[in-house]
Every structure is written in C-alpha cells, then in structure tokens.
C-alpha cells in the first residue's frame, strides 16, 4: 500500500473518530457527566435524523432541517427527563437501564408507526457536496470536512461548559450528591432537565448530520449507542478530553484495522479468505482495544480513579 493511501486512511480514521465524537457528544453529557445510563440515546439520534429528513423534504432547506433535528430531539429529551428520568435519579442505575430500554422500544416503533418502515431521504446540501483537493492529491469530501469542523466546535464548547463554567461544576456536583447540591440552593432538577435536553439536542444534531451521508431509518441509533459508550468509557467517564481522544482512537483503530488486517492476512492466505478473516478480526478490534485499555487503566484513559 502506498504511503499516500496510508495517510489518507489515517485521515479517514481521524475523520471517523471525530464523527464518533459528534455522535457521542450528547451521551458524554448525559452519561459521562450526569452519570445517567441512557440507552435511549440512540433513539434521540434517530429522532433528530427523522425530524431533519421530514423538514428537509417539506422545506428543501438543510439549515432548517438541522435546526429541526436539534429542537425535536431536545424537546423529546426534556419530556423524557421531566416525566421519567427525574424519578430515577435516586434509584439504582439498573432501573435506568430498564426504563431507557423501554423507551427504545417505544421510540423505535413509534417512529415506524409515524414514518413507515422505509428509509427516508436526507442528503448533503448542494453547497457542501463534492470533494476538495487536499495537499498530496487526496480528494476529500467537503461534507465530511464540515462534520469534522462541527465536531471540533461541539467538543470545545462542551469542554468549556463542563470544566470552566459554574453550570458545569453544578452538574458534576449534582452527579456526586444530588441532595447536597440542592441543600446549597441550586435547583438541580431544572438544571438537569436543561442539560438532558442539551445532550438530547446534540444527539439529534449528530443524527441529522451523519444521517445525511448514511441511511435515515428505524434502528439507525442502536449501533451508534454501543460505539458511543465504548468511546466514552475508553476515554474515561466524565472527561470530555477523554471522550475526544477515545473517539479518535476508536476511529483510527477501526479504520486501519479494516484496511490493514486483510492485507496482512493476504500475505499468507488466499485473497478472498484473507479479506473475510481480516474483516472479522477487525470487527472485534475496537472491543479488544477497549478491553486492553481498561485492563491497564481501569478507569479509562482520562477517568479519575474511583476510590
């Protein structure tokens, strides 16, 4: 394989990583910082994509579509927090698992009921379609570049929000001792509703942005869910920086694994068998990565060690 192709693939890996980060961003807030297990995160991602697709079809405007995705998902997030999650903070994590599992069922089938069983259309806007030529003769999709930029912006924004602002401190304090932060005069319920909605909105945004180059269909959120959890856990729960680095690691490992393993096996195997074995192993790779990271750093790369 030529060096230039290798670099291009590395770039693809990084790009995939940033995209993963964008998908994980909302979950970083809800799970990483607020400490809520929200399996329905993928559903919010899906809701965002469906809202965007519907609005795009109705109005023809991509900007409006993106806006709709954020608003719709945030709205659903707020409703979910207000009517359900709020009652579960004091409970076991496992109750959150069951409740959000139930929400997946409701959201998925609800979406199918409203939109039917066939995928929807959502495409890249004219302005961002096509490729740009990067130095070294690499053609790069303009839209993917845009996703990278947005992912980075969201990352920086989240980092500042969580580590530098009072709101961030309060959220983290609430995760640690909800009763206590209330006793100090903070209306943690209202704060949590807003943050949950923000996390949901980010999920929706990711759903719409990524949905434009993937398929908008029921069930699109589930694979994302697990990947997003993997990313956050590798990085260390509660750390935005960790989530970002975790996402890049996963993106690069997955991409390079997919590309290089079949080639490696091809050196001593028949091509089509090598392709198949290599691809199988590469599917396991990110889980292997997670397991190895956690075996050596039991609280993720940037997680604080729990006492």
């Amino acid at each position: 394989m030529s060096t230039i192709l290798l670099i291009e693939q590395l770039l693809n890996g990084i790009q995939f990583g940033v995209m993963l980060f964008l998908m994980a961003a909302g979950l970083t807030l809800i799970f990483g910082v607020m400490g809520l297990i929200n399996l329905a995160h993928g559903s919010l991602y899906m809701i965002g994509a469906f809202a965007a697709a519907s609005v795009a079809t109705l109005t023809g405007s991509f900007v409006l579509a993106i806006l709709a995705s954020v608003v719709a998902a945030a709205l659903f997030g707020a409703i979910v927090e207000f009517s359900i999650m709020r009652r579960l903070y004091e409970r076991d994590h496992l109750d959150q698992v069951l409740a959000t599992f139930a929400l997946i069922l409701i959201f998925s089938e609800g979406t199918r009921w409203m939109f039917g069983s066939f995928p929807l259309y959502l495409d890249v806007p004219e302005m961002l379609s096509g490729t740009v030529l990067l130095p070294g003769g690499i053609h790069y999709s303009r839209y993917r570049l845009a996703i990278i930029v947005i992912g980075l912006l969201v990352g920086v924004g989240l980092y500042l929000l969580i580590s530098k602002t009072r709101i961030g401190m309060r959220i983290r304090a609430g995760e640690n001792d909800r009763e206590m932060i209330g006793a100090l005069g903070i209306d943690i319920s209202k704060l949590y509703t807003s943050v949950f909605a923000l996390g949901a909105g980010l999920a929706g945004l990711a759903g719409a942005l990524v949905g434009a180059i993937q398929s908008v269909q029921v069930g699109m959120g589930e694979p994302v869910l697990i990947l997003a959890f993997v990313v956050i856990v590798i990085g260390g729960i509660g750390s935005i920086k960790g989530a970002f680095i975790g996402a890049l690691l996963v993106g690069v490992t997955d991409t390079l694994g997919r590309v290089l393993l079949p080639i490696a096996f091809g050196s001593f195997m028949e091509t089509s068998q090598a392709a198949s074995v290599g691809s199988s192993l590469s599917s396991m790779l990110i889980y292997l990565l997670m397991a190895v990271v956690l075996l050596f750093k039991p609280s993720g790369l940037f997680g604080r060690t729990q006492s």
Binding site: F118, V124, S215
Partner: protein, 358 residues
C-alpha cells in the same frame, strides 16, 4: 373441506421491517384478489431474530396447526426454520431467502423457493459486467454467508479480473476507508452487495466521493423501498433483478396497478415475490387437497399460475428457472424507480441444482 391454513413468519418490526412488510402486502393482495375463502393466514413478527423465528415456527406448527409456512426474509432465519419445518411434514414456500444449502444437498420435496437462489442476482451482475466489457472489478459485500455467496456468485460469471475484494462489517455505516481503497485501485468497475441501510449509506458516500467508476449490483440496494432514500446518488446505476414493474405482461401490469391502489406506493421486488408466492399456493389449492401432501406437492411443482415475471417454472430443486434482467435507476417525475434495459441471463437455473437429488 380443503381449507388451508398458512403461517407467515416475517420481519415486521425494527430495521429490516420494510422487506417483510412488502412480502406480506404482496401476499395478502393476491389472497384478497383471489376471493378464495378457504385460506386463512396467521402472521407473526420474527423481529429478525432467528431464535424468535424458530419459536414462532413451533407455535404455528404445534398450536396453530398450519399446513403451509412462508414469509421468511433472511437466509439465517430461513436456515433456522425451514429444515425442521419440512422435516415435520410442513410445506414451506420461500418468498425471499434462498440459501445455497437448501438449493443443493439440503433440498427437500416440501421446500419451494419462489424468489431466487441467493447467488442468482449476483451471477447475473457478473454476466452483465462481462457483457459490458469490464476488465477489472472491485467487489465488496458484508462479512456474512449471504455476502460471501454474493461475491462467489459474481465471480462465477465475471470473466475479468478482480481488482480488490472486501468484506465489510455487517451493519457498517461508514465507508470512507473502502472508498479510498476503491479510488486507489486500478479497477474499471465496482460491484457491491449491501442490502438495506448499508447500501443507502454506501451509495450516498460513493456519489460524494468523486469516484466515477460504473457500479453494478443486485436489486437489493435498489428496490422501490429504499430508492427514495438514496435519491440522486443511485441514478443511472445498473442492477440485476428477476422482476421489474415494467415487465410486459397483463398480470404484472394489474399487480403494479392494484398494489399501488391498495397501499399507496409502488411495489418492490419483494412485494412481487410475495404476490407470486400466494398465487402459486392458490393454484395448487385448485388442484389438490392440502392433506394429500403428495398430490399437493405435485400441484405446487407444476407452478401453474400467472406470475408477474411472465412464465414461471421450477427446476428439479424446486427453485425457479427464470430470466434475470438488468435494470437502470431512473427518475419518473418525482419518483425514483427502475427500468429494464437488458436481459443478463435467460432461463437461468441456479448453480446448486445439480447437487439436489430430487
């Protein structure tokens, strides 16, 4: 009397529901049109989970006491259900999945496939690519048995070289790395089998990648159900199918029209398969009692019904022997659809029939 009870196990919820719904709707349309009151259909959702499908089959056989089973979309579910159902003396009519084992060594007198053997559309794609004079194809499919069958099928009929061969992860949604490899290769054509959402993602990303190579594939990524979601990215792409809405015969014209009237959308190849499956069953009911298995099987094997594909006949392994067409994705008004541009294989029988002892 000769009342027939049919158990339909198909995928009605979750991501792959569109296919099951199409098969179901096509099937039910034919039943309704026949006006035959002697047939009762029990429908259950397999959720695309093989263990659920097995349990539903148990339920249909043990409690519902159905005579005929049908409906399964996916090969892995088919493999879980069909062998034991046929072993228990039930007739199984496959409206979609056609795993190679059941066409060859594992064929069974009670098993009829009304759609195709899994490799067939890919074989046709290979034949078409050869006809077009492509010399070097880059081929890819998901890493699961049906995916491997696909690449095997393509290679079986493609006379050129393989520029690259890739298996992607099942359910993969991002293809940047694969696209980079395609661009870097010296291929002159691309063949892919990526059913459902995977295909939509691939095509959208392909069209945004600036790669200009011609693409061929089986109909599974270009069926009526997903074309609208792919949009312009699919325009002009050639794909192979045993059916299309413009196959010129009265049955098909009536089917397309009545399906659209009934359900408000154009039928897909899956719907056509469901429709044919029901009509095949109805034709056999006219000829024999379902309790007389021997006679009923014979009646099925005759395939004396009007297929939307035109002539329809079974080979020795009870899989269709049929023409496979090349279609091109076009836009009719606002709707993306296909039109037939050539015939890739005529009277094509699958490659496993010889292994079948029937």
């Amino acid at each position: 009397d000769n009342k027939v009870k049919v158990g339909m196990i198909t995928t009605l919820s979750g991501g792959g529901a569109g296919l099951g719904i199409d098969v179901h709707d096509g099937f039910m349309l034919a039943i309704a049109q026949s006006g035959n009151k002697n047939i009762e259909v029990v429908v259950e959702d397999d959720q695309r989970k093989p263990d659920v499908a097995v349990q539903l089959a148990d339920q249909m056989i043990q409690s519902e006491k159905v005579d005929v089973l049908t409906g399964i979309i996916w090969s892995n579910l088919a493999m879980a259900v069909i062998p034991s159902a046929t072993a228990q003396g039930k007739i199984y009519l496959s409206p979609n999945a056609g795993p190679s084992v059941l066409a060859g060594k594992g064929c069974h007198p009670n098993y009829f496939n009304v759609a195709w053997q899994n490799d067939e559309l890919h074989e046709a794609a290979g034949a078409y690519a050869t006809d077009e004079g492509y010399g070097k194809s880059f081929i890819l499919a998901p890493n699961y048995p049906a995916g491997k069958d696909a690449l095997t099928g393509y290679k079986r009929y493609f006379k050129g070289e393989i520029a690259g061969e890739l298996y992607t992860k099942l359910g993969q949604t991002d293809y940047a790395a694969e696209l980079a490899q395609i661009r870097a290769s010296d291929a002159d054509s691309v063949f892919f089998f990526l059913p459902g959402g995977m295909g939509i993602s691939f095509l959208k990303q392909y069209s945004g990648s600036g790669i200009e190579l011609p693409v061929v594939g089986p109909a599974f990524s270009f069926d009526q159900g997903i074309l609208q979601a792919v949009g312009d990215a699919a325009l002009g792409i050639k794909n192979t199918s045993q059916w299309n809405k413009d196959i010129d015969n009265p049955t098909n014209a009536a089917f397309v029209e009545s399906f659209q009237a009934e359900y408000g959308r154009l039928p897909s190849l899956y719907a056509s398969q469901g429709f044919d499956t029901a009509n095949l069953l109805l034709s056999a009911m006219d000829k024999a009692e379902v309790d007389d298995t021997e006679a009923f099987r014979a009646a099925l094997k005759l395939a004396d019904f009007k297929s939307v594909r035109g002539d329809f006949k079974f080979g020795n392994n009870q899989h269709p022997v049929q023409d496979i067409y090349v279609r091109e994705v076009i836009k009719e008004g606002d709707v993306y659809t296909n039109k037939i541009i050539a015939t890739a294989l005529s009277d094509h029988a699958d490659s496993y029939a010889a292994d079948c002892s029937l």
